[in-house]
């Protein structure tokens, strides 16, 4: 291999050949469909990743128990990215070059998604990002089934403000998710006649919030909204409660509970926090109850189930349905089948692919944490991803490859 003329076209045409070349001695099970995942099963984001990995394995075993996909078994190749963004590109490259997978599911933090999205696009390997995020990514090679700000924050903000007051303080994780989400929150606060009186960003390893809690008190907001992420940021909620602030200023979050934080915190620490997600374990639907039973059969109890584990599970089934409809695992065939407005019903209700954005239309529930549970206060059914729809149209512009950010 000498210097290649055009790297992209080269990769596309020889990805399969390279993979085979690199591991000459190993015979492959030609008939298995190969699914790759990259998830943080260890490190400070393991609270997100481990249940997602469990959900992934559950979904794969469900499909294999039912005879596989297109009469072929599904083989899962998963890598633990150890909460290290640099490992994402490494393992993504390995998945496409060496393991030669048919699809990649995974990525948790938006940073990890952006680290691998281009690699997978270049390699023409279909990518599913199954986690709630800040919205706006427009890429025909990728599908998104997590809630975006227009689905989540747009309803959470007015609801939380109506239960507290118009002066809002925002505390966000300092990376693309937190930065962009904070700007959406600012917009919705203003749209609802409120005022953002303060905004702070915290790197993901900050765990001492003492000075911040004092600062918030000098501003005395009516409401704090905290899109904080990861194990270190969990201490904010602890310290907030330890200072007795939870009795004084109501708190809402777009992320709290996604990693089952409400189960790690004591009831006293967590009670009253307001959130909005696509899923709650407390949803009493036949599909959710059946799902929980299967989960219990596999893992003993439902402790680990959380929002993004379920969306990961749903994302995998969305892809599986796309493969069934397409009758092949070929990337273009699957994309076309998916763009046909394909939908799947599961533990979190109905999910329908929006062909224009490759995002999904889904249910959103406004919830309040009560005794380590998320009690549903209000359900809003089938909300489309209007934020991304406003900027992204893959039907007209299939080569688009940008993440649009909210201008404010």
């Amino acid at each position: 291999m000498i210097v290649t003329l055009n790297r992209r076209s080269f990769l596309a045409s020889t990805a399969a050949a390279t993979g085979a070349l690199m591991m000459p001695g190993i015979a492959r099970a030609q008939d298995a469909i190969r699914v790759g995942t990259v998830l943080d099963v260890s490190g400070i984001f393991d609270a997100y990743g481990t249940p997602m990995d469990m959900a992934q394995r559950l979904a794969v075993s469900e499909i294999n128990d039912a005879g596989g996909l297109l009469d072929r078994p599904v083989e899962l190749i998963s890598y633990d990215t150890q909460s290290d963004i640099a490992l994402y590109t490494q393992y993504a490259q390995r998945l496409v070059r060496q393991d030669n997978v048919d699809v990649v599911h995974g990525g948790i933090l938006s940073a990890s998604r952006e680290a691998i999205r281009q690699t997978l696009r270049r390699a023409n390997t279909l990518y599913f990002y199954n986690v709630q995020y800040e919205g706006g990514v427009c890429d025909r090679n990728a599908f998104f089934n997590g809630v975006t700000p227009a689905q989540q924050a747009e309803v959470l903000v007015p609801w939380a403000m109506s239960r507290s007051g118009p002066r809002v303080y925002i505390l966000a994780a300092d990376y693309n998710y937190g930065q962009i989400t904070a700007r959406w929150l600012q917009k919705y606060v203003a749209d609802n006649g409120g005022e953002t009186v303060g905004m702070d960003f915290f790197p993901l390893d900050v765990s001492d919030f003492g000075s911040t809690i004092a600062r918030i008190q000098t501003v005395a907001p009516d409401l704090v909204i905290a899109p904080l992420v990861g194990g270190a940021h969990l201490s904010f909620f602890r310290q907030w409660a330890a200072a007795g602030m939870n009795a004084r200023i109501p708190l809402a979050s777009t992320t709290m509970g996604v990693g089952n934080e409400h189960k790690v915190l004591t009831p006293d620490e967590g009670n009253g926090m307001m959130v909005a997600y696509n899923y709650s374990q407390e949803l009493d639907t036949p599909l959710n109850n059946a799902f929980k039973e299967r989960w219990i059969a596999a893992y003993g109890n439902t402790d680990a189930i959380h929002e993004i584990a379920v969306s990961h599970y749903m994302g995998f089934h969305l892809w599986a349905e796309g493969v069934r409809r397409a009758g092949s695992v070929d990337r273009d065939a699957v994309i076309e089948a998916m763009e046909d407005g394909l939908s799947v019903e599961g533990p979190s209700g109905m999910m329908t692919i929006d062909p224009q954005t490759h995002h999904t239309t889904l249910d959103v529930h406004l919830m309040e944490v009560r005794d380590q549970k998320m009690e549903v206060a209000e359900s809003l059914s089938q909300r489309p991803p209007v934020d991304t729809q406003a900027v992204c149209n893959l039907t007209e512009n299939p080569d688009d490859n940008t993440q649009y950010e909210i201008e404010f």
Partner: protein, 299 residues
């Protein structure tokens, strides 16, 4: 009229809150650095596994609490004992073969730190654990403060006083002071340096364990949490210079003040960077530490 005074009162409250936060930051640095300072002061050895010793203290506390031990007993007694004992074993196994080889000792302790992180991951899982603070919130006028901050401040203060008392008032302290000034002095006085080093290391480890234990309720404990402690402890001890207690207190004072000032004014990240910049500036100006210029000859 009433309004102005309310504002005045609120400002007073805020001053109290900030004062408590600053004292807390200083106390935090004192606690985090104490174990390292003892080992460095006596043996001129930088124990780079210090952060992991602290994490071990944290895990010891959490495990003990999980077994039903009272949290204060777990923090103040169980954790220092466990970590002190661990330090003793490690000193016998590894470090005593390396005395006089300063850089090698540092590297071995670094290796130990990596091993401990690995062991934590295998034993406790690469995940975040924690306990909730045992002290309720505290009201100052219009403000709420984390009551646990006071506990940290008191522990740090008691620790400094205890160190001073031991160094000043006991025979062991006398020997220790001798050893700090001239390493050969202690042996001349008829004390085996081997034993002194062993005990110093064990005591330093116990202090690390104590620090990790009392800080555990404030943070989410992960196997790699030690890295966050060692750098600041390292900086504080070196910047403090040769006098144990005075160096610890003065360096912690300067850095805690700088850190909290900027944290409060801008953000915690800027506070931390300000601390680091202050450290570089301080070492450039006083390359042998604060206590070579001020507080000379004190403890």
């Amino acid at each position: 009229m009433v309004r102005c005074c309310l504002k005045e009162a609120k400002r007073m409250d805020l001053a109290v809150v900030i004062l408590v936060e600053v004292l807390y930051a200083i106390a935090w640095l004192v606690l985090v650095s104490a174990g390292l300072a003892v080992v460095f002061g006596m043996m001129k050895v930088i124990n780079l596994a210090h952060g992991e010793f602290m994490v071990l203290g944290g895990y010891a506390t959490i495990t003990a609490v999980g077994l039903g031990v009272n949290i204060f007993v777990a923090m103040l007694i169980v954790a220092p004992l466990v970590v002190g004992l661990f330090g003793l074993i490690v000193e016998r196994l590894v470090f005593r073969h390396l005395y006089g080889r300063m850089i090698d000792t540092m590297l071995a302790s670094w290796g130990l730190s990596l091993m401990m992180i690995g062991a934590f991951k295998m034993i406790f899982g690469n995940t975040t654990t924690g306990v909730s603070g045992p002290i309720p919130g505290f009201t100052v006028g219009n403000y709420q403060i984390n009551g646990y901050n006071f506990f940290i401040i008191v522990v740090a203060l008691l620790l400094l006083v205890a160190m001073l008392a031991v160094l000043r008032g006991t025979r062991a302290g006398l020997v220790a002071r001798g050893a700090m000034q001239r390493p050969d002095m202690a042996s001349a006085m008829g004390h085996s340096p081997d034993r002194i080093y062993m005990l110093t290391f064990a005591i330093g480890s116990a202090l690390s364990g104590l620090a990790g234990a009392v800080l555990a309720p404030l943070i989410g404990l992960v196997p790699t949490a030690g890295a966050g402690f060692i750098a600041k402890a390292f900086i504080t001890v070196i910047a403090g210079g040769p006098s144990l207690v005075a160096g610890l207190a003065s360096a912690s004072g300067v850095f805690g003040l700088v850190n909290q000032f900027f944290s409060f004014l801008v953000s915690p990240v800027v506070g931390e960077v300000a601390l680091l910049v202050a450290a570089v500036a301080l070492l450039r100006l006083l390359p042998r530490g604060i206590t070579t210029r001020f507080f000379r000859g004190r403890l």
